[in-house]
């Protein structure tokens, strides 16, 4: 099966976005948290609803998690690079209660996952960036070979 992964370069030109994509480039997934109370804030906002002030702290996460919801996209909507089909998943990441990371499910079984399935980080290299995609836990690791 030909596996599609969107190829749409992220907007990174902002301190609220750059650390996420730097971590992704290094094969990791990181989310921002308040250094004072530890509450994760996703998406990052210019202020902190927890009431503390100062910059957020980006924390590396284990890269495992659970599918909260998903949809198999079968029609193209992106202005470019969005050839369907591909499966969007919302992942609740271990070690970061609260946020749901929007990502793409890749590898075996990615066309028909179920809510509650366990997943692990399995990045995809595109021409312009590394996308922190996920694979079903227990599926073969094909990340090293996967490029778009």
């Amino acid at each position: 099966m030909t596996e599609h992964v969107p190829e749409f370069a992220p907007y990174t030109d902002d301190p609220l976005y750059a650390p996420f994509w730097a971590a992704a480039e290094a094969g990791r997934v990181a989310l921002p948290a308040c250094p004072d109370c530890g509450v994760f804030q996703w998406y990052p906002l210019p202020g902190r609803p927890c009431g503390h002030q100062g910059p957020l702290e980006w924390r590396d996460l284990p890269g495992t998690g659970t599918i909260f919801t998903f949809t198999r996209v079968e029609r193209a909507f992106l202005p470019s690079g969005g050839e369907p089909p591909y499966t969007v998943v919302f992942v609740e990441l271990d070690g970061a209660p609260g946020p749901r990371l929007v990502s793409v499910l890749v590898g075996d079984g990615s066309a028909a996952p179920a809510i509650g399935d366990r997943v692990r980080l399995s990045p995809t290299r595109t021409a312009t960036h590394t996308l922190p995609t996920f694979a079903l836990a227990g599926s073969p690791d094909t990340s090293a070979a996967r490029t778009t």
Binding site: A9, T71, E74, F77, V102, T133
Partner: protein, 381 residues
């Protein structure tokens, strides 16, 4: 029992609803505004207030085009889906305060133009950083992720979505000017192209070029005009503690909409309960959003909205007729404003084959991202 109403809707105007209109959005807006003012039995020179929904086309372009001098100019200020309804509250405030005697509210849209309704999301840097690179883009994809979770939480099978779209088509077939009047059987539904699982094309609203407008004035002045007044007896506005960045992905209660707040506020201000609603027009950008709002608004039990539609309750002849023009799924996608126009027609009693007999109380409710607005419209008695 309903509360005393200070204002009424006295005129409605709609253009034709098509894809790839030959007319500019400005021309469409002018045509709808002219039609609404004429329907009210007024001339442009008598109308002294205007409320725009998008600010585009600009109100000054419209008023200069038709010879109307503005005393009051307002904008709705809510996210577009809900704005055509919240605009009625803006107009009420202006009329109650004596800032204007007759206010026209308009919305014009060219959804079939390049980029469609998706492009304003692409301007959001958070979406451009954290959603678009993963292909999470386009309203059908957003609502599909909600629908998938809804199906999981309430044990609804994808095929069971069919009744909502089938009901919309049945109503559209009874409605002159509806954009999509081909019949939709259950088999037709299953053959409708999958867009983003579990949503099929039939679950998605139309793309429409067109415009619609309505005119409001005080209840007292309304009674001197040719049409039977339709009173604004209740209204509820609400916004959730989310941003337009995160509403589709990060809400703590994932399927919560502002209708959980705006509905009760509207009922309370009108002094009614959901059981008093004779006919409901509920924003249906997707079958998903229609059902979530119907459940929030107390029109059917939570988790049972699709079963309610499948059992025919919302269809012609059903116990609670919903979107009796075919809604945004089959009549036209002029968000919210065509729902107001349809409620007015039902309360005037002019809907012929689609007329709900004895309709005296209409609920109109619309979602605009994290904003929500609900109106109770009542026949003058």
């Amino acid at each position: 029992m309903t509360a005393a109403a200070s204002v009424a809707i006295v005129g409605i105007g709609e253009t034709e609803f098509v894809r790839r209109s030959d007319h500019s959005v400005g021309e469409l807006a002018v045509a709808a505004v002219r039609a609404a003012i004429a329907d009210a039995g007024l001339t442009p020179g008598q109308v002294d207030g205007i409320v725009s929904v998008y600010g585009d086309p600009a109100p000054d372009d419209i008023t200069s085009s038709i010879g109307m001098l503005r005393r009051f100019t307002g904008t709705a200020g809510y996210v577009p889906g809900a704005a055509a309804l919240s605009a009625a509250v803006t107009a009420k405030l202006a009329i109650d305060a004596g800032l204007a005697d007759y206010v026209v509210i308009y919305m014009a849209y060219g959804a079939s133009r390049p980029g469609g309704p998706y492009t304003f999301h692409a301007k959001d840097p958070i979406k451009a950083s954290y959603e678009m690179p993963f292909g999470f883009y386009g309203q059908p994809v957003y609502f599909a992720a909600w629908q998938q979770r809804y199906c999981h939480d309430y044990n609804v099978k994808p095929d069971e979505l069919a009744g909502v779209s089938m009901a919309a088509r049945k109503w559209a077939q009874l409605t002159p000017g509806a954009q999509e009047t081909r019949p939709l059987t259950f088999e037709d539904y299953l053959a409708s192209p999958m867009i983003s699982t579990p949503l099929r094309k039939a679950d998605c609203c139309l793309l429409t070029d067109g415009a619609a407008a309505y005119v409001m004035t005080s209840a007292d002045r309304a009674r001197d005009l040719p049409n039977a007044p339709v009173l604004l007896t209740g209204y509820g506005l609400a916004s959730m503690d989310t941003t337009m960045h995160n509403i589709f992905t990060q809400k703590q209660d994932f399927l919560e909409l502002g209708s959980r707040l705006s509905g009760p506020r509207a009922y309370a201000s009108a002094g009614i309960t959901p059981a008093d609603v004779d006919v409901a027009m509920v924003y249906d950008c997707f079958s998903t959003s229609l059902v979530l709002q119907m459940e929030d608004l107390g029109l059917c039990p939570r988790g049972e909205g699709f079963a309610f539609a499948n059992e025919g309750h919302t269809s012609p002849g059903g116990s609670l007729p919903v979107n009796t023009h075919g809604g945004h799924l089959a009549y036209a996608y002029l968000p919210g404003v065509v729902h107001i126009a349809e409620a007015v027609k039902q309360l005037r009693g002019v809907r012929a084959a689609a007329q709900v007999s004895g309709a005296e109380v209409a609920l109109v409710s619309a979602l605009g991202g994290n904003d929500h607005a609900s109106l109770v419209l009542t026949k003058d008695r």
